[in-house]
């Protein structure tokens, strides 16, 4: 790979760095290969979601992202979370998304991105969000897991169920009430007929 070496030198890296890099790649375990593959695929899907012009393509890319995220959950041995992520997000919400998008006539390209004010406000909003995320990650206390005494069954459904129904019983029930309220609210708003009172 002489051409590649040259490119590396252009970035100010010498031959030794390159060989070290190659050595690093060679020593990757199977799990690490899987992780990097899934990460690259999910980033690809996420970028595709925001960069593609056609909304249907965006949804398909987003499904790819959900899939690879589920793969990463599986690597963390959180099987239930992976399955529920696929069922709820990829299986139900995205189907409804596609369903609604197909009804819309989106042949015309949206011209919102050509307006300067829209671009500037989008850039500011996105930058602020990125800033908050970076600060949050920097400030967060990351607890390094000790591999030797870590319970590998932490992410399994049996453990999850016990934790949810013992320690977090009230929040769990409240969330279900919240869902019920949201659902009946949506029905109430959508079924408003002529002559009904406005809220």
């Amino acid at each position: 790979m002489p051409g590649l070496k040259k490119t590396w030198r252009n970035f100010g890296l010498n031959n030794k760095d390159f060989m070290q890099y190659l050595e690093l790649i060679k020593n990757l375990t199977f799990v690490q290969w899987t992780f990097y593959f899934l990460s690259i695929m999910s980033l690809f899907g996420a970028l595709g979601t925001i960069l593609s012009k056609n909304p249907i393509h965006s949804v398909v890319y987003l499904i790819l992202t959900f899939f690879t995220l589920s793969g990463i959950y599986l690597l963390l041995n959180a099987q239930f979370l992976a399955a529920v992520n696929i069922i709820v997000y990829a299986g139900a919400i995205m189907v409804l998304f596609l369903f609604v998008l197909m009804f819309l006539n989106l042949k015309k390209e949206s011209n919102e991105l050509s307006q300067n004010s829209m671009l500037i406000s989008a850039a500011i909003a996105g930058g602020l969000l990125g800033l908050i995320l970076i600060v949050a990650i920097k400030k967060a206390e990351t607890i390094r897991v000790n591999y030797n005494d870590f319970d590998s069954k932490t992410g399994l459904i049996e453990t999850l169920g016990k934790v949810l129904f013992n320690n977090y019983m009230l929040p769990f029930e409240l969330v279900s009430v919240l869902f019920l309220v949201a659902m009946s609210g949506a029905v109430l708003l959508a079924k408003r007929e002529k002559g009904d009172s406005h809220f």
């Binding site: 399955a83 139900a92 596609l98 369903f99």
Partner: protein
């Protein structure tokens, strides 16, 4: 470890090959059964009894021109059948096709993988199955295809709910999400269908709907939508769509057999097992008993496949509003009632008795008391 891995690989490849072979001969069986029901001869030209007909069909599909319409979205047009076929094949991974086999002193499951979320895996893959139809139907850039795709989406979403709730009753009874432990919990003739007669009917109806089989084949209803979502498809791309339907049928028959009809369990299996072990020795006897269990499972699967085809050639198609009413106003409430009855019966300690008592009470209320109130509401309107 190595032998385990090799045997596991062989099992996985065998499951894959069997699902393909089953799908191939389901097309033949469909024609033979249709011919029998309609008093025709059916396929009898290719080979003895027309047994080579699926190969002839496959050859025809492969050699036809593979075209993509000019205005179609090229990549999604190709992606559609691929997604349909791969999602159809994925769910067979968690179905236990037999108990264990002993190779080189180690017990190996006759199953792709025994994960503790097995049934959720099937459910997730089933809910993804609609993407093949949705993407293909939209990418064709044809209004009939789009109608088919939209119908498929709304139908799958609606029927998934009743399916999930009737599954919950099974999970409640077994206390596990692993398909293997659900099957092992139905030892002998202790099958779930006796505890869950209503759940079984609901699940059967929902799996008909999820497979897009008649009477739920609205996505491709040929007298309204030309051919529905695959109107623009030809050659092997259409072949893959049709093929994925048959693979889905095989898989959902296997799931139905495992969840409700006891999978590889059959009455008197302990007696047969002890006899086999007694006459052939520990290892060979155990493997033979497992083979017998697999055979039983396949008999159940054949029964369900026949049932699916029988329904297809007997019942007319639902109208669209009927389809939605059945799903939302009838099946979902009944599934919730079934779940409540099951929960109460499990708490009572005698699930078999109290499931039937609960169902009888529900039937009495529904058929006895409900019509009286119903008449009143109709007259009030």
């Amino acid at each position: 470890m190595d032998t385990v891995l090799i045997v596991k690989a062989i099992i996985v490849i065998a499951i894959f090959a069997i699902s393909m072979l089953m799908a191939l001969y389901e097309t033949y069986a469909e024609r033979v059964i249709a011919a029998f029901i309609q008093d025709r001869v059916g396929p009898d030209r290719a080979g003895p009894f027309g047994l080579l007909q699926p190969l002839a069909d496959g050859g025809k599909l492969f050699f036809k021109e593979d075209f993509i319409p000019t205005k179609a979205d090229k990549w999604l047009f190709i992606l559609g059948p691929a997604v349909a076929m791969s999602t159809a094949l994925l769910s067979s991974a968690v179905i236990p096709f037999g108990d264990t086999i002993i190779v080189a002193g180690q017990k190996i499951d006759v199953q792709g993988m025994d994960v503790n979320i097995g049934i959720l895996w099937i459910f997730g893959i089933v809910s993804l199955g609609v993407y093949g139809i949705l993407i293909g139907g939209w990418a064709s850039n044809n209004k009939y295809s789009l109608y088919g795709a939209i119908r498929a989406a709304s139908q799958t979403i609606s029927y998934e709910l009743a399916m999930g709730i009737s599954l919950l009753a099974i999970i409640l009874m077994t206390g596990s999400l692993s398909v293997k432990s659900i099957v092992l919990g139905q030892h002998g003739i202790d099958w779930n269908i006796f505890y869950q007669p209503m759940g079984f009917l609901l699940f059967l109806t929902c799996s008909l709907a999820e497979c897009n089989r008649t009477p739920f084949d609205l996505p491709e209803s040929e007298n309204e939508l030309v051919a529905g979502y695959h109107t623009e498809y030809g050659s092997m791309k259409m072949g893959l769509y049709l093929f994925s339907e048959y693979v889905n049928m095989f898989i959902s028959s296997a799931v139905l057999a495992s969840l409700y009809l006891g999978g590889f369990n059959y009455p008197g299996m302990d007696f047969v097992y002890s006899k086999l072990v007694g006459s052939f020795g520990e290892v060979t006897g155990h493997n033979l008993a497992t083979a017998l269990g697999t055979l039983t499972l396949f008999l159940k699967i054949f029964f369900f496949i026949f049932l699916f085809m029988w329904i297809r050639w007997t019942l007319p198609r639902f109208r669209y509003d009927q389809l939605m009413n059945v799903a939302w106003k009838w099946m979902m409430p009944v599934a919730i009632v079934n779940l409540i009855i099951t929960a109460a019966a499990e708490l009572s300690g005698k699930p078999l008795l109290y499931n039937w008592v609960g169902l009888a009470i529900f039937g009495a209320i529904y058929f006895g008391l409900f019509p009286i109130f119903k008449k009143k509401t109709v007259s009030a309107n």
